[in-house]
């Protein structure tokens, strides 16, 4: 048995736990608005709103009382203010589709806020926020918080096509600069978010990103290459959202330099961009703590 070798070059410290523990509440939907390919839901959830920090998410029970869907659906918090939590939902499968069909007056069972929030940037640092698809929604609350704390904020919103862009209006109002990209050029510049990221990165003291894994990897790599710390909010398949089931893990390098399969719900979803081993997601590298007990040995 060879001891896994620590990796010690990280620019980021692991995101700290949230200030407040989550609560579980049955809350009323007070707004439901289709926005292009998505539905924005507004929930009257004061106890969640007052605890929520940017980067955190909520988990919904789906399907109502007769539901055969047992597992909660995790959705990032877009904004939380005045007792109202706003989320943006994309109808992917049966559970998220059910969520998009909620109407004002309906009630939903929700647990939150969950996960670790984005850590604050170094004082005075310019921040770059990068959102892919509905991932941009998760950055709206963060942008507001950063502006309020006096940071300069540049933002990039990207998507496959114009109708899958998200929160562009909110980010336009909040950010000092906003770049929009789409893969097909149907809105903003044609291309991937990295096009804009590469231009905006220099001079930034921190990068925050939320979106598909491939995008997170590209953004984190670009930031790390320039020596800029980055924080990414990952999206792994979750069964519980609260840290008890161990389904949502991915290989993350800890502060001791060792890689562990870390729960994205409670140790994330926000991780240092240089700590997530993106290429190894869905595999079991030999140098993960405890891989030896699974019969995986150094090649």
């Amino acid at each position: 048995m060879t001891a896994p070798h620590p990796r010690t070059t990280a620019l980021t410290t692991p995101a700290p736990v949230a200030d407040a523990p989550p609560v579980q509440r049955t809350v009323e939907v007070v707004g439901a608005r289709p926005v292009d390919a998505y539905v924005e839901l507004r929930l009257a959830a004061p106890e969640i709103a007052e605890r929520a920090q940017p980067g955190q998410f909520v988990a919904f029970a789906v399907g109502g009382e007769t539901s055969g869907l047992l597992l909660r659906r995790s959705i990032a918090i877009s904004t939380a203010a005045d007792g109202v939590v706003t989320v943006v939902v994309s109808a992917a499968g049966p559970g998220s589709t059910w969520l998009t069909q909620r109407r004002p007056g309906d009630t939903v069972d929700v647990v939150g806020p969950l996960g670790r929030p984005f850590p604050a940037p170094p004082a005075g640092a310019r921040a770059l926020l990068v959102g892919g698809g509905y991932g941009a929604a998760a950055l709206v609350g963060l942008a507001a918080q950063l502006k309020e704390a006096g940071h300069e904020v540049a933002a990039v919103a990207g998507a496959a096509s114009a109708d899958r862009l998200c929160s562009v209006q909110e980010l336009t109002e909040l950010a000092d600069t906003l770049a929009v990209t789409t893969d097909d050029g149907s809105s903003g510049r044609r291309g991937l978010v990295t096009l804009a990221v590469d231009e905006l990165l220099p001079g930034c003291g921190v990068v925050y990103a939320c979106g598909p894994m491939r995008m997170l990897q590209a953004v984190a790599d670009a930031a790390t290459a320039l020596g800029v710390p980055s924080y990414v909010a990952v999206e792994e398949s979750m069964a519980c959202g609260i840290g008890v089931c161990m389904t949502c893990v991915l290989p993350v390098v800890g502060s001791d330099g060792l890689t562990r399969l870390s729960r994205s719900c409670t140790e994330g979803p926000v991780f240092g961009g240089d700590r997530v081993r993106f290429d190894d997601v869905g595999t079991l590298p030999w140098d993960v703590v405890g891989a030896d007990a699974m019969g995986v040995t150094r090649p």
Binding site: P21, P22, V23, Q24, A61, G68, L69, L70, L71, R72, D109, V111, E236, S237, A239, C240, I242, G243, V244, C245, M246, T247, C248, V249, L250, R260, L261, T266, V281, G282, T283, L284, V288, V289, G290, A291, D292, A293, M294, G295, V296
Partner: protein, 312 residues
Amino acid sequence: MTAVETAVDMSTALGAVPIPSPVLTASGCSAFGRELEPFVDLTAIGAVVTKSVQLRPRSGRPTPRMAETPSGMLNSIGLQGPGIDGLLDGELPWLAERGARAFVSIAGVRVEDFAELATRLRGVPGVAGLEVNISCPNVESRGEVFACDPVAASDVVAAVRAAADPAQPIYAKLSPDVTDIVSVARAVVDAGADGLSMINTLLGLVIDPDTMKPLLGGITGGLSGPAIRPVALRCVWQVHAALPEVPILGMGGIRSGLDALQFVLAGASAVSVGTAVFNDPSALGRIHAELAAALETRGFASLREAVGYAHR
């Protein structure tokens, strides 16, 4: 949990160890209890049944580790955990400090592993007993699961009973994936098990319609949740009918107090709530309250009176 106070005496026992509530977590479905603290009073539930621990730290399997299925789920976690050292250093003291009882689930790939784990857990504060996971279908060496063979199963149980603290009851956790669960139950009881936990998950498979390959990294996985409840109840019923004196920790798809009641009536003197916690992190306290109310409505003065009532 503190809310509804009924007149029903809800106390019960794991072997000879008294516990104030018949509602426990299920191994692997509440980690080591910590994350439930915002939702459940850990001292008021029967016990925290910990995620099965092995000798060494384990990374568990690569993802995907779960697939949702109709009224259930399939998992192939692969027993990710800190190993016995991590448990003794971190998790058990944390539970003991709070006054929460731990029912420690142990797992291994050899009889000696189990015995060594039991030895390490002797006299550890807060440990109410051991659940012997001989039935987990998820460990890498899946040639034959201990629980599928009465002889292998009783070898493990005998070794654990010999090594374990005499004050700690040991419960053998049975698999439903056998032709005759009563014969396995009888064998492990003869080998010294103080009680039986049942059931573990059923072996299942889901194929991803996109990749057209098995969805889980481990190909097969364990099926849990309300979908399997009728199978679990049948197992509890059959074993209680055959071995009415043996305490049973019943589990499999319990989601409400009336579900728990069915297990109690079938013969369980306590129940574990697993997958339902993913749906409702407050489930344990709610189920305790609902069960107490249901017993009261039906005229029972105590939980104990209701155990096995459906057989009478």
